[in-house]
Symmetry: C3
Subunit: 309 residues, 3 copies
């Protein structure tokens, strides 16, 4: 049996993980649904510190539920305006204090590099729950898990990624996972929000087939996966320009008329208007299944870090 590659490991960036690591994680995650239903006490002695310095509902609650399904406990704060940080304490000092109380740290911050920094100054494992516009590795792991569980394979798929490909951290974290598979990528974005130069270099170095485009309607029939993301209004120079692009990228049920039956429509959520509610009832919509996969994925990750399975 292969040794557990996640034992006592920091989870900072998807770039840090090999295909072998990823497959190992997905395999374990696939066994979590039963454990979530039956309950488990494998992390009964462990305390997770959950430090959210940016708004979050789903990620915070997802780690919270994952830890508790394994019998573990959670401490932490998301009301950072009432914490000692407000009194003028540095993040570094706060983290060293919290380390004294806990066995693992989950951190979200608007500061890029915050999670990496935390992992360098602390002795306990650190999980990045979103750092600025850079990384959100557990989101990308769960995205991959969703595709694998719903389509039973990753190789051979044509994957469209649509929206803000420049600033979206979910896109930037997902690409390093997808390059491990034989996928064709359709990168759909307005001119101003094309995929980053470093991401393009990654795709080229791995010989991944990809195409950049602005129109979404013509490409939909060829897709196995359509990953929608939120476009953030504040990136645009004028409201008019934003509205034109926004109009392009509202996915409606009529846009999906010629889509494949097995297409997966995904979204990291929260959505604002990128997907019309008429899509919610279509069999292709899996974005409300993603949070469940996310919790299961995080259960697997927490259990593996503590070598509990």
């Amino acid at each position: 049996m292969m040794p557990n590659p996640f034992s006592n490991r920091d989870i900072i960036s998807t770039l840090d993980f090999s295909k072998v690591d990823i497959e190992y994680l997905l395999e374990v995650a696939g066994r979590m649904e039963d454990i979530a239903r039956q309950g488990s006490r494998v992390l009964a002695n462990k305390i997770l510190a959950s430090i959210f310095l940016e708004p979050s509902t789903r990620t915070r609650l997802s780690f919270d539920a994952a830890m508790k399904h394994l019998g573990g406990q959670v401490i932490g704060f998301s009301d950072w305006d009432k914490s000692s940080l407000k009194k003028g304490e540095t993040l570094s000092d706060t983290l060293k204090v919290v380390q004294g109380y806990s066995d693992i740290l989950v951190i979200r911050s608007e500061w890029e590099g915050a999670a990496r920094y935390a992992s360098e100054i602390l002795d306990i494992p650190v999980i990045n729950a979103g750092s600025g516009a850079q990384e959100h590795p557990t989101q990308s792991f769960l995205d991959l898990m969703t595709i694998q569980r719903e389509r039973h394979r990753l190789d051979g798929l044509t994957v469209g990624i649509c929206g803000d490909l420049t600033y979206g951290r979910t896109v930037h974290s997902l690409l390093p996972l997808l390059v491990n598979y034989d996928v064709k990528l359709k990168l759909i974005s307005p001119q101003q929000l094309k995929v980053r130069r470093e991401d393009k270099m990654l795709l080229e170095s791995k010989n991944v087939s990809f195409e950049e485009m602005e129109a979404i309607d013509t490409v939909i029939p060829s897709l196995d996966v359509l990953y929608m993301t939120r476009i953030q209004r504040e990136r645009f120079r004028s409201e008019e320009e934003f509205l034109r692009v926004k109009g392009y990228y509202v996915l409606t049920s009529s846009l999906l008329k010629n889509a494949r039956k097995e297409l997966l429509v995904m979204h990291p959520l929260p959505r604002i208007n990128e997907i019309d509610p008429s899509v919610d009832v279509l069999p292709q919509a899996v974005y409300f299944k993603q949070p469940r996969y996310g919790m299961l994925l995080r259960m697997a990750l927490l259990g593996l870090i503590f070598d509990a399975f």
Copy 2:
């Protein structure tokens, strides 16, 4: 033995429950004090999602404690200004996400109908922890439990309800429970805050004896129960008018001079000035016992919904 009528059931409005249901619940709730003291693990695999979109101390902590006394876990948020709702996500989307993490939802909202709506779009059971001015079913169950436990009966009692009978959700939720019993109601309120038309119709259709009045002092000697509620300043057209009514409804120890020894003075809390602190030490004051009954009642309800007893 009667089948459990609460199995997997939503708790939205007291109007949804028959006398048989109510008696079943009270019977089980009566057995919870021992379990609260000894602890229990019957809900060890269950996660309750606690979503409070309006300020609350007692109800939120009461469900929290009830779940934990049964070995269950709680996730959720009450800092709604930091949640994804703030990012523009709809309540519907937030709830669908949270459903992926949990086995039951408890929700409070200022929006009337929020809990009913949640119960319609979700597959897990939903408990209404207060929806606008409309409903607060678990408060009313605990009010009933308080009377039953402190007086050992419900039939034959004369019950005074005093204060804001128009907008108070605790009154509106309590009446559908009381109509199942042989009670006489004294509805004490200022002219502007009389009981709602629909509530009056309910009382008439059930042939409940009731009387509306403005004065409190003359009726006190005839009461077995006096249920005080908060009058909200903002309902009045002038401060002067508010102050006059406010003066009427400050319950003092001298007002209770001619009260029955076995009178129960109740209040859903928080109180502001409706009950003078001099009343707190009287044997009739049971309003600080109500929170304990509330926790026990919620333990019973949670356990029954999961068929855990």
Copy 3:
């Protein structure tokens, strides 16, 4: 065997505890590290209510983690602006409600005397987690534990306490513990922030050797312990005066050149600039060990109050 002096006891002020009590507590606290690692269920049926009416990270999370390491549960709030207190409820009423849900109360408040008041109106044990500028007993117990664990003795030590000796509650709580031991005190502060008259009277009544001074550099070589505290800018009449004093009391690695090898540099945290980060790497710096001792100390205290060991 000596009976447990903490059984069912309120923890309000360090003045309430004898040397025998203190030694008993430190002895039990010394056994908590193993329990923290292995986990325990001795408080499995207990619920701690955590009521923080003032900002706090470390103390709140410390009690939270301590309770959970012993298998107990925690409810409470630190978002006091959303609680019923905001609706106009008195603290007294809120506490009586919370008592119905819990087995022990931990309270922090800016109001001096809040914890004492809580202990008088409630039947469950109350722990003071900081009351205004007055008391912070569990901080002082952990300070004492830190010295004892790191130096293996308390008698015979020369202890410097530096900073705001007038308003700092950690100083005011620590002195009544230190007077039980054969220590020499060096009280280092600006003229405006000398130790309080009542503290000086305590030291004199106990025949404790102490010296007041303003300069820190000359005294450092004689110290076994240097307890730094935060000076609060708002106490000073002019910014200029504050900056001059502030300059005095930034502990740097060069100031520690002639310090003893075994010196313990302590700080209750959060620090702002009283200790330069260059000190963090010195062997004398133990302030990031203090939070861990704090959690262990609170485990001991909670377990003892419930007679669980």
